[in-house]
Amino acid sequence: MDAREQKPISRRTFLIIGAVTATAIALPPFICAQASAANAARPVLSKLSIEVNGELHDMDLDTRTTLLDALREHLQLTGTKKGCDHGQCGACTVIADGRRINSCLTLAVMHQGSKITTIEGLGSPEKLHPMQAAFIKHDGYQCGYCTPGQICSAVAVLEEIRQGIPSHASPSLTEPPRLIASELQERMSGNICRCGAYSNIIEAITDVAQASA
């Protein structure tokens, strides 16, 4: 049972229950043409299990639910933020199966069996992830809204550099990328900070990279 169902009934829950009652859909793995045509006008539910921050969750979600909305609205993991909801700002960045992605531009149902790490899974107030500690130390934020996405992205960026994945800023495609500011700036360009804390963010990431080098 997911956390949502333990709460007093919300409008959202009411609507979902209503949809299930009305259409009694249990989505088969293979859908015939008639079923699709009949279902298209109404919300369609789909079951999935997904591992978030090491915990397995079985969910029954409207197929339209993005991974972002599944995390925030159904699992109450509101650390991941919704900014533009169109993949332009990076506030929704999470790590899915080891890779940073925009959780707003992927459907939850496409992540059956995936392992997702959100900001809540990286560290806690009692035990900060080194990247979280570095953002605090270097004042890598002002309002903080983009920060969970920045931190998830930054953690993945260091792993991408460790794996030797090149970037637009890499002078050579055949030599390993270096841990320099221009590389970090380029790799972090998918995370927008409206407050403009960029220089401190780069300092925080550099600090973590040097500590782990």
Binding site: L27, P28, P29, F30, I31, C32, A33, A35, S36, A37, N39, A40, A41, R42, P43, V44, S46, D62, T63, R64, T66, D85, H86, G87, G90, T93, R99, R100, I101, N102, L105, T106, L107, V109, M110, S153, A156, V157, E160, Q163, G164, I165, P166, S167, H168, S170, L173, T174, Q185, E186, R187, M188, S189, G190, N191
Partner: protein, 318 residues
């Protein structure tokens, strides 16, 4: 977003056949463009066929000395593949010049080819757009046209194809492999994949109904110096105003393709014969017949100067 049913395909042929059976179905792979458009009700599939489970995520050597890139190879993986970095650097550079790290981790090879235009009038559902709503008109013509097409455009549409990757693949003369609902397969030269807008800008490719891209095959390496020069309004994470993809040999001969100027990656092989005469001569042929607007006529100059820069870089590498 409109409701839709969802299923996972087990094989490419099954995916194509299922698409033919279900009205209003679309394939979804990375989904980074499709979901963006579904949220705006610009794309309204009633059924999504998730093709991510198909084993099309490998890069394999071909008997001809080239590489066969599976349709589901993610942009990050294609850009980082050691064989691509060594022998097809222009492709690696084009990929890395596009989108953000988050998007490249998800976006696929086939999806990148089939992404829709970023014309602001296509995205704004309050505006007329022949691509989004055939027959409604084109608000871009006479509107904010600065980022839009300058050649191969029509009275109906001046949108550009936004991909960087496709420009490099056009330069390399890649072949696009597909499967159709009846299980038959074919190979389409990438030059023939994307259409010019004409009177039907809503029809963007020569793919048949429900035809699924399974791979993109790169011919044997060309050697030479590989350069992808993208000019944009900010240094990262922006679509091209124009881009120049080039493979230039030590004797100064080579290939040139342009992005950001047309409804498809723009290449004219006969213009490449003028490379010994310099960037001005090549640009004159490459962009002969261009019909820019007042706002985007600067792209003509920008192409020439960027090409001059690319040719100068190649000389220093030679």
């Amino acid at each position: 977003m409109r409701p839709f049913t969802y299923s996972r395909a087990q094989s490419p042929t099954e995916a194509a056949a299922l698409a033919a059976q279900i009205n209003g179905s679309q394939f979804i792979a990375g989904g980074t463009n499709l979901l963006d458009l579904m949220k705006l009700n610009i794309e309204t599939p009633t059924h999504l066929i998730d093709v991510n489970g198909l084993a099309l995520d490998r890069i394999e050597a071909t008997p001809e000395g080239g590489l066969r890139v599976g349709a589901l190879v993610r942009n990050t993986d294609l850009a980082a593949d050691p064989r691509i970095r060594k022998d097809y650097a222009v492709l690696s550079r084009a990929l890395l010049a596009g989108a953000s790290g988050q998007l490249r981790n998800v976006a696929t090879t086939a999806g990148n080819l089939l992404q829709r235009t970023r014309c602001p009038y296509f995205y704004d559902t309050n505006q007329a757009c022949n691509k989004r709503q055939p027959g409604s008109g084109c608000s871009a013509i006479g509107g904010f046209s600065r980022p839009l097409g300058i050649i191969g455009v029509s009275e109906a549409c001046i949108a550009t194809h936004p991909s960087d990757m496709a420009v490099a693949m056009r330069l390399l003369d890649a072949q696009v492999e597909t499967v159709r609902p009846d299980g038959s397969t074919r190979s389409i030269p990438i030059a023939d994949l994307h259409r010019l807008p004409g009177n039907t800008p809503n029809i963007e490719t020569t793919l048949g109904a429900h035809e699924l891209i399974t791979a993109v095959t790169l011919p044997a390496p060309l050697g030479g110096t590989h350069i992808y020069q993208k000019v944009r309004d900010r240094a990262s994470y922006a679509f091209a105003l124009i881009s120049v993809a080039a493979v230039i040999q030590n004797d100064g001969s080579g290939r040139i393709a342009l992005g950001g100027v047309a409804h498809k990656p723009w290449r004219n092989e006969s213009a490449e014969a003028a490379m010994s005469q310099g960037a001005k001569a090549v640009t004159a042929q490459l962009l002969a017949g261009a019909t820019p607007t007042d706002q985007n006529a600067f792209k003509l100059t920008l192409v020439e100067r960027t090409l001059a820069s690319v040719m100068a870089q190649a000389r220093t590498h030679a």
